[in-house]
Amino acid sequence: MAAIYSLYIINKSGGLIFYKDYGSSGRMDTNDSLRVASLWHSMHAISQQLSPISGCFGIELLQADTFDLHCFQSLTGTKFFVVCEPGTQHMEGLLKHIYELYTDYVLKNPFYEMEMPIRCELFDINLTQAIQKDRVALLAR
């Protein structure tokens, strides 16, 4: 049972800076996750251009046959997206929370270089906790 399958964070130029898998079958290798991330970046950009009215900020939710993809773009262009089971609720809240964790534990880390892959232990720990909490909340519902 996994409500959330995986989490990606991509920087403003489409490079994958964080990827974590939470139990999807057939885990993607590093090359594939990089490719998928940059493909998502371009699809996000094209969806903005195709909007019938102006002021479009790109795809927020993609519903596929076997999963849902929720995407949140920060003001600086960093994109956070989770792949979860179809119909999972309250993912926007979780994404915003992950963004908070990112600003607290990654951006405020003096050793972190902007736009580079995230390797911060505290971020990992807190992220795991946030996702666990989300799962517990889901089970309780």
């Binding site: 399958y5 995986s6 999807s24 079958s25 057939g26 993607m28 594939d32 490719r35 998928v36 493909l39 998502w40 371009s42 699809m43 094209i46 969806s47 903005q48 251009q49 195709l50 909007s51 019938p52 009215i53 102006s54 002021g55 479009c56 900020f57 790109g58 795809i59 927020e60 939710l61 993609l62 519903q63 596929a64 046959d65 076997t66 999963f67 993809l69 792949v83």
Partner: protein, 144 residues
């Protein structure tokens, strides 16, 4: 890639505040095709339930691999359906509309009834069937 028909129902196409630049429709069609094709290969690759997946970017036959049925942005929602023969039906609507998969099936039915069963229609050419156009218009207007 060929586009058989496209009807603008919404009066606000390309820019409400007069800021939206007028793009040639031809380019929109290409963008749309590229978006759908790539999203399909993306979903096929991302599918978390099957362990063996084809490589990213390999064209998939209709019905093969995990596909998607809709996506939503803050300004519009796009619902997509692909028939077993590869006909793709796309509906662009207001972001807060519900599940439109049944409507797409109904539109596909209309296509079968009024276009495929039309003896004068050659498969693969643009649709010029008046009956189809009027019924489709009526139906799409009735959805909203």
């Amino acid at each position: 890639m060929q586009f058989f028909g496209g009807t603008e129902i919404s009066p606000v196409s390309a820019g409400v505040n007069g800021v939206g630049e007028q793009r040639p429709h031809d380019q929109d069609h290409k963008l749309m095709f590229g978006l759908l094709f790539s999203l399909k290969s993306l979903t096929a690759k991302m599918d978390p339930t099957t362990p063996d997946k084809a490589n990213l970017g390999v064209p998939q036959l209709p019905g093969q691999g995990c596909s998607f049925h809709s996506f939503r942005t803050n300004t519009y929602k796009l619902t997509f359906m692909e028939s077993p023969s590869g006909i793709k039906i796309i509906l662009v609507t207001h972001p807060r509309t519900g599940d439109l998969r049944e409507s797409l099936k109904y539109i596909y039915n209309l296509y079968v009834e009024y276009v495929v069963k039309n003896p004068l229609y050659t498969p693969g050419t643009p649709i010029r069937c008046e009956l189809f156009n009027t019924t489709l218009d009526q139906y799409v207007r009735s959805i909203s």
